[in-house]
């Protein structure tokens, strides 16, 4: 599935919720169900600091695709992190760099990405794109060498 298709899938799921309570209960459940990031990645090096909540993000590159794992110390943040991973993980670098991630707005969670929230999510998205950019550069570098 492309990024856009995955985003649409999430938007459809969220349309089922009548009120904010259901929505947040779902996000909290998601947060609880996300497997913890391996201990070796839950260190300073992978920490994206927010003013309030912290996020740890790890990325690896395999067969032209970027795979992310991440978690947060706050459960709501962790749930939203899970959604971002569902959309972006396993996608080619170029698509990650170009992703607009409009779904966050569409499912009514945009407030969590505002500067004032300072929960690390905005920095996390930036960091995901930077990883994608770095992997893409390495790839281009390889090709240049081959040429």
């Amino acid at each position: 599935m492309t990024i856009k298709e995955r985003e649409q899938e999430i938007i459809n799921e969220f349309e089922l919720f009548d009120d904010w309570m259901d929505k947040y209960n779902y996000i909290i459940e998601l947060g609880k169900s996300v497997p913890s990031i391996p201990a070796e990645y839950k260190v300073e090096k992978y920490l994206i600091s927010g003013c309030q909540a912290s996020v740890w993000l790890h990325a690896r590159y395999e067969n032209g695709k970027v795979y992310f794992s991440a978690e947060s110390d706050a459960l709501i943040t962790k749930g939203i992190v899970a959604l971002l991973i569902r959309v972006l993980s396993g996608q080619p670098p170029r698509d990650i760099i170009d992703a607009e991630l409009d779904f966050i707005n569409r499912i009514g969670l945009k407030e969590h990405l505002s500067q004032t929230r300072a929960n690390g999510l905005l920095n996390m998205i930036r960091q995901m794109k930077l990883y994608a950019l770095a992997f893409q550069r390495t790839e281009t570098g390889k090709h240049t060498q081959h040429d």
């Binding site: 947040y24 309030q52 943040t77």
Partner: protein, 406 residues
């Protein structure tokens, strides 16, 4: 206790609004307080009828604004019982007031190897300016320790005061813990060694009367916006002898007597420290706010808030897995807590959805969070318009949070 709440709340228009479809429960007063109608009206009248630059023109409006501005200084003098209006300097807020002293005092009186003493429970605004000054002067920043309850270690304080200590800067009330510090005792200890003391009063002035002469502090700072006044204005009180001996902080208009390209002589107090066009409107708005709380009675406000704080502590204490952060014997205005199993950010997010405004995070006091080894707290901070019903709504909201996350 005798505050007439229905009437008081009507004076604060914002308290009538809804947030996320629910009536606003505003419990973030330590961050900023809401403004009574009278303050907003004062700002409007100033700009509609009095606006002009002060201390400059001979024209009618300029004189009228100058008189109003200087009358506000008299009001502030009365509010904190300063010795004279010259000891009242208007600033942008507490932060600027502390920066002024850290900059100007340290330039003159702090030499390489000297020490500045602060405490473990300071707001970043009462840490960073001293850090910068110490770096510049090659001096050392020392810290009075605190205990698990969030009370200062007075023995530690005594031990740290020495010949090299040039100034002590401590908060009157902790913004993150609510602790009321024994500032009078600290001032006495410091004065025994002839060391001046600055008190950060940002969280004290909203809650109880302050008498700078009775405290005998050398400097005292507070912010207008935390005492129901406008943002962007505050006060530095300083004893005349100190202010006279300190060099100016900023240069510009107003603070000069005579300027030539070879030499400038400076104005007398308080103008020496008020460079540039001051924030006249907000000074007048702050004056109105101070008169407003004086009118209600500062003792009455203190007694009412004290009762409300005790009520909040007892009601919150019944919640499962709650842990209070800061349990000092003497507290004012603030109750800070964490749930052992729920991140403060999660708690704050759900409370916000319920229309309840609290602050979550480190409250610009990261060293305190490091001390307690927590990422932050949930802080409910009270104002004179808050009610027991609002505390009940907070407790219900938190019970809901527990249901959702537990």
């Amino acid at each position: 206790m005798s505050l007439q709440h229905d009437n008081i709340r009507k004076e604060f228009p914002i308290l009538q609004r809804e947030v996320n479809g629910r009536p606003l429960v505003y419990l973030d007063n330590a961050a900023t307080t809401q403004k009574p109608r009278a303050v907003m009206e004062r700002l409007r009248i100033y700009y509609e009828q009095e606006n002009s630059n002060i201390h400059r023109g001979a024209h009618y409006l300029s004189q009228q604004a100058t008189v109003a501005y200087e009358k506000a200084r008299e009001t502030v003098k009365g509010f904190i019982n300063a010795g004279s209006p010259q000891e009242v300097i208007f600033t942008r807020g507490t932060t600027e007031a502390i920066n002024l002293v850290a900059n100007s005092f340290c330039k003159k009186f702090v030499m390489p190897g000297d020490e500045v003493l602060i405490s473990a429970m300071e707001h970043h605004s009462n840490i960073v300016p001293w850090q910068i000054a110490c770096q510049e002067r090659e001096a050392f920043l020392k810290v009075i320790p605190m205990n698990e309850a969030g009370e200062l270690d007075m023995e530690g304080c005594r031990d740290l005061l020495n010949k090299k200590t040039k100034i002590v800067a401590v908060t009157h009330v902790s913004n993150a813990l609510g602790t009321v510090n024994p500032v009078r005792e600290i001032i006495d200890l410091a004065h025994e060694k002839s060391i001046p003391v600055l008190i950060d009063g940002a969280q004290a002035t909203p809650h109880f009367p302050v008498d700078v002469q009775a405290l005998d502090c050398d400097f005292y700072c507070f912010s207008g916006h935390k005492v129901y006044g406008p943002m962007g204005v505050g006060v530095l009180y300083g004893k005349e002898e100190w202010l006279n001996s300190m060099p100016p902080y900023q240069g510009g208009g107003e603070m000069i007597r005579e300027v030539s390209f070879s030499k400038t002589t400076y104005s007398e107090l308080p103008f020496k420290f008020e460079a540039g066009t001051p924030n006249v409107a907000d000074v007048l708005g702050m004056e109105t706010a101070l008169l407003f709380i004086k009118g209600l009675g500062q003792q009455q406000i203190a007694a009412y808030e004290d009762d409300l704080l005790n009520y909040a502590i007892s009601q919150l204490g019944a919640l499962d897995k709650i842990r209070f952060v800061g349990t000092a014997g003497q507290r004012a205005g603030v109750v800070s807590f964490v749930f052992d199993d729920i991140h403060p950010y999660d708690t704050g997010t759900i409370l916000d959805k319920l229309g309840i405004a609290v602050r979550t995070g480190h409250h610009c006091a990261q060293p305190i969070m490091d001390f307690f080894k927590i990422p932050g707290t949930v802080r409910a901070s009270l104002g004179l318009y808050n009610t027991r019903q609002e505390i009940d709504l907070l407790v219900h909201g938190l019970a809901r949070v527990r249901e959702m996350f537990a």
